[in-house]
C-alpha cells in the first residue's frame, strides 16, 4: 500500500514472495462500500477492499503499508483497523527516503497513460530494459496522484509531463513535498486530485497560482471532467 521504501519491498521480493500493489484495480476484486464511509477517497476504498478480499480468500499473507507523510492520514487510520480485521500481519512503514533516483518516465515521449502505468509498476520492480525513454520538452502538465480511472490520462496531448506525487513516486521520494510543489512555469497544467483527498487543497492552490485547471474525480471519468480537460487543452496548449 502506497510507496514503501524500495529496499523494504525487495526484502520480500528476494525471498520469492509475489508482490501485489493493493492500490491498483485488481481483477475479480470489487470495491465494497461497507468498509468505509460512502464519501471517501476511491483509492483508499479500493486499497481496503483489495486487502480484505484477498486476505479472506487466503491469497494475501502480509500487508506492507506506507503510513507516513509519503501516503496520507487516511492510510494510517485504515492500517490501524486493518490490523484488527485481517488475520495476517499488517506492517506499517514510513518511507522517508530523500535520495531521488530521477524521473525520466515523467519527462519522456511516452503517452501519459503509459507513463503512469510504468511508474505504478516500478514501485515494486525495476523498469523493463526494453522501455526506451527519450526526454522531451513539456507541452502540457499533469499534476497529481495516479487517478482511480486512467481514462483521464488519455485526454492529454503528446509530451505531457508529470508533476506532483506521481513524479515523487518515480523518484522514490514519496514524502518529498518540495518536489511535489514544483512545476515548470508557463506549462499549461491540470492539477488533479481524487475527491475527498487532502491533496485537493494543494491542487486547488497550485492551480490558482499557476493559472492551471483544478479537477477532482471520484470513481470514474465523467462527461463534465472530460469536457473541462479537453477545453483546457484546446485553448491553452499551443
Amino acid at each position: 500500500m502506497g510507496v514503501p521504501h524500495w529496499e523494504e519491498i525487495q526484502k520480500y521480493g528476494k525471498r520469492g514472495d509475489t508482490i501485489i500493489d493493493l492500490d491498483d484495480a485488481l481483477p475479480d476484486v470489487s470495491v465494497e462500500d461497507s468498509y468505509l464511509p460512502k464519501t471517501y477517497c476511491s483509492i483508499l476504498k479500493r486499497v481496503t477492499s483489495n486487502a480484505i478480499t484477498l486476505a479472506q480468500a487466503g491469497k494475501l499473507h502480509l500487508v506492507l503499508a506506507d503510513v507516513g507523510e509519503g501516503k496520507c492520514d487516511g492510510m494510517r487510520y485504515i492500517a490501524s483497523f486493518l490490523r484488527e480485521l485481517l488475520p495476517i500481519p499488517v506492517v506499517e512503514v514510513r518511507n522517508t527516503n530523500s535520495t531521488g533516483c530521477g524521473f525520466p518516465i515523467c519527462q519522456s515521449q511516452l503517452p501519459l497513460r503509459k507513463k503512469v502505468e510504468l511508474i505504478v509498476e516500478t514501485v515494486s520492480k525495476p523498469l523493463n530494459t526494453s522501455v526506451k525513454l527519450r526526454k522531451t520538452a513539456p507541452s502540457c502538465g499533469f499534476w497529481g496522484v495516479p487517478p482511480s480511472d486512467f481514462a483521464l490520462l488519455e485526454l492529454f496531448p503528446p509530451n505531457t509531463h508529470i508533476y506532483g506525487w506521481t513524479r515523487c513516486m518515480e523518484n522514490k521520494t514519496p514524502a518529498n513535498r518540495e518536489l511535489e510543489l514544483e512545476v515548470d512555469e508557463g506549462v499549461p497544467t491540470v492539477f488533479f486530485s481524487q475527491n475527498f483527498c487532502q491533496r485537493s487543497a494543494l491542487a486547488f492552490h497550485l492551480a490558482k497560482k499557476h493559472q492551471g485547471l483544478f479537477v477532482q474525480m471520484d470513481h470514474h471519468l465523467t462527461k463534465s471532467i472530460r469536457a473541462m480537460v479537453e477545453a483546457f487543452i484546446k485553448f491553452n496548449v499551443t
Binding site: A227, I233, K234
Partner: protein, 242 residues
C-alpha cells in the same frame, strides 16, 4: 438533397443553424428526435447529442469558442445557464483561466424556471424586483423552499422572484463574482432573471454554442488540437462555403 445543419441539442430545446439558406430554428428536443426530414448534421454539441453529427464538440469548447466570436474583449466570464445544468468559462486573452460545469447544484435550473413560469402563468416582467432572495441549493430543492414561502402566505410572484434571485446568487458565486457577466442560454430572454444578478449582466442569447460551432465550421483549423478526438467524416464538408 440533405439540408446541412449545425445543432446544439440541449435537454429541453434543440437550437439549429441551417447552412444554406442561413437561418436559426429552435424546437423542443423531443420533437427533433422524431423529425423525418433529410438532414445532414455537420457538427453537434449539447447534452442530447448522443453521437449525432459528423463532428461532436463538447459544450464547454463550443461555449468558449462562441464567446470568443461574440464578445469583443479578449477577457471575459461567460455563463451558460441551461435547462439541466450550469457551466461557465473565464477567458483571459484567448486562454481559459477558470471554468466549471456544475451538473449538480445547477441541476434543472433553467427547466424548473420555465416550468414554474408556465405553472404560475406569469410574465417574468411582472415579478416584484424587491423580493427577498430564497437560499436554494439547486432548482429542484429550491422549488420546495419557494412553495414553503407560499404556504407561509408570501404571494407567489414574490416567492418566485425570490427563487430566481436564489438561482442567480448561486450562479454569481459559481463564476467568482465578476463585475461583468456575459450570459448564454434561453434565460437571456427572462428579464426578471437578468435583473436578479448582483452584477452587470450582458445577455448573448441562446445561440452562443451554435456560434462556436459556426466558428469551427468556418475555420476547421480552430478545432486543433482536438483533431484526433473528433470524427474525420466531416473533412469533405469543412471547405463548404457558408
Amino acid at each position: 438533397m440533405s439540408e446541412k445543419i449545425l445543432i446544439d441539442c440541449g435537454t429541453s430545446y434543440t437550437k439549429i443553424y441551417y447552412i444554406n439558406p442561413q437561418y436559426y430554428e429552435v424546437i423542443p428536443s423531443r420533437e427533433f428526435r422524431q423529425w423525418k426530414r433529410d438532414l445532414r448534421i455537420l457538427m453537434a454539441t449539447g447534452y442530447n447529442t448522443w453521437g449525432m453529427g459528423d463532428v461532436q464538440v463538447n459544450e464547454l469548447i463550443a461555449l468558449a469558442e462562441g464567446g470568443l466570436r461574440l464578445i469583443p474583449e479578449g477577457s471575459f466570464t461567460l455563463l451558460d445557464c441551461g435547462a439541466r445544468d450550469v457551466k461557465y468559462i473565464t477567458m483571459n486573452e484567448g486562454k481559459i483561466i477558470r471554468m466549471d460545469w456544475n451538473t449538480e447544484c445547477g441541476a434543472f435550473a433553467g427547466q424548473v424556471i420555465e416550468l414554474l413560469t408556465n405553472y404560475f402563468n406569469i410574465n417574468p416582467q411582472d415579478l416584484p424586483p424587491d423580493s427577498e432572495k430564497i437560499p436554494v441549493v439547486c432548482g429542484v430543492l429550491g422549488m420546495t423552499k419557494m412553495f414553503d414561502k407560499i404556504a407561509e402566505g408570501v404571494p407567489y410572484p414574490r416567492a418566485f422572484m425570490g427563487f430566481l434571485k436564489g438561482i442567480a446568487w448561486n450562479c454569481y458565486h459559481l463564476v467568482n463574482k465578476p463585475e461583468l457577466l456575459y450570459l448564454s442560454g434561453g434565460l437571456c430572454e427572462n428579464q426578471a432573471f437578468l435583473s436578479s444578478f448582483p452584477c452587470q449582466v450582458r445577455p448573448l442569447g441562446r445561440y452562443v454554442l451554435l456560434e462556436g460551432l459556426k466558428s469551427f465550421y468556418e475555420n476547421p483549423s480552430r478545432l486543433k488540437p482536438l483533431e484526433e478526438t473528433v470524427s474525420k467524416k466531416a473533412d469533405c464538408d469543412r471547405n463548404h462555403p457558408l
